[in-house]
Symmetry: C2
Subunit: 186 residues, 2 copies
């Protein structure tokens, strides 16, 4: 027997993406976004309403970064999702974060978040809140790589947003390989 929840924005897993962008004077701002994902080989789409300080920054500088929220930085990630940069211009500093400029786009990388996707603004529609970014580069700190030089989720520990219970979840163990020969199933 299934329970119906109505038309709600509920999926599992939902991400904890930390968007960051500079304003006109070069001050970085950051926000927490759970709505969005990859929409092409080199494209991300997010739903960000126009009143967000970070959204205004993105329109100003035509670039942004998307860092993965982590278990280690969970409290700070939650903080930048609760507090607005419109009222708290030094929000990033108050979160305890430091930034450096991306080598690829005109946007800040957050030093405390070891993996990020660096994007150029592709389009933004204020009515639908649809922000589309062209992925220019993905970067990850060597401290979160495995011996093959790829990101190790057990080291990165990206958090998952549980929208139904307003909670954050840690990532779990590897449970299997993807892209196995499906024909072996039957």
């Amino acid at each position: 027997m299934r329970k119906n929840f109505g038309a709600k924005p509920l999926l599992y897993p939902q991400p904890v993406f930390i968007l960051a962008a500079y304003d006109a004077s070069g001050t970085p701002n950051a926000m927490n976004a759970a709505w969005g994902g990859i929409t092409e080989e080199n494209e991300v789409t997010l739903c960000i309403s126009a009143e967000h300080k970070t959204m205004r920054n993105i329109l100003e500088r035509k670039a942004f970064t998307v860092s993965m929220g982590t278990v280690e930085q969970m409290v700070a990630c939650d903080y930048v999702g609760v507090v607005s940069g419109n009222e708290t211009p030094d929000k990033v500093t108050r979160a305890g974060w430091h930034t450096e400029k991306s080598a690829f786009v005109d946007a800040p990388l957050i030093c405390e978040l070891p993996m990020a996707v660096e994007c150029r603004l592709k389009s933004y529609d204020e009515d639908s809140c649809r922000l589309v970014g062209e992925v220019v580069n993905v970067c990850a700190d060597e401290s979160v790589l495995n011996d093959k030089g790829r990101v190790d989720p057990a080291k990165l520990r990206p958090i998952v947003f549980d929208a139904m219970n307003h909670a954050y979840l840690s990532p779990g163990e590897k449970v299997g390989d993807a892209f196995r020969d499906g024909l072996t199933l039957r």
Copy 2:
């Protein structure tokens, strides 16, 4: 020191969404999609190329469901991502799955996947592969609910796709509450 991976579709977490739709004759098909997410209060956006049998079905019937892939059904979820319904029309049956028609949209629910989002087709653009669905209902089997009547991720066990290592991860423990008063951070 950060390593640069170039312009790649890499984010954590990525979902394992199982899309399902009927063809003209009422045969269900299903596929595995990791690219997409919520893009509005009642909207999902996914990147699905036009040659997929399930995509053709969605255009035919103007509806689809998005079920959450689970640890329990991981092998079947991987299978429907590897095998094409164009060559294997009984793919859903071969995956070991049974379907019932959604009460809200003209699309199948997969009985073995206990949580799904039921969508009407809103738009599809073949060039960008952008599929937009209006969320009409979210449903979950009572067996995966907690005592508050909400989905319990520890019971649902939605899998996470690790795109960098071609692996599936289990969901982990709750690590904290979201939307705390951020001002308590500093």
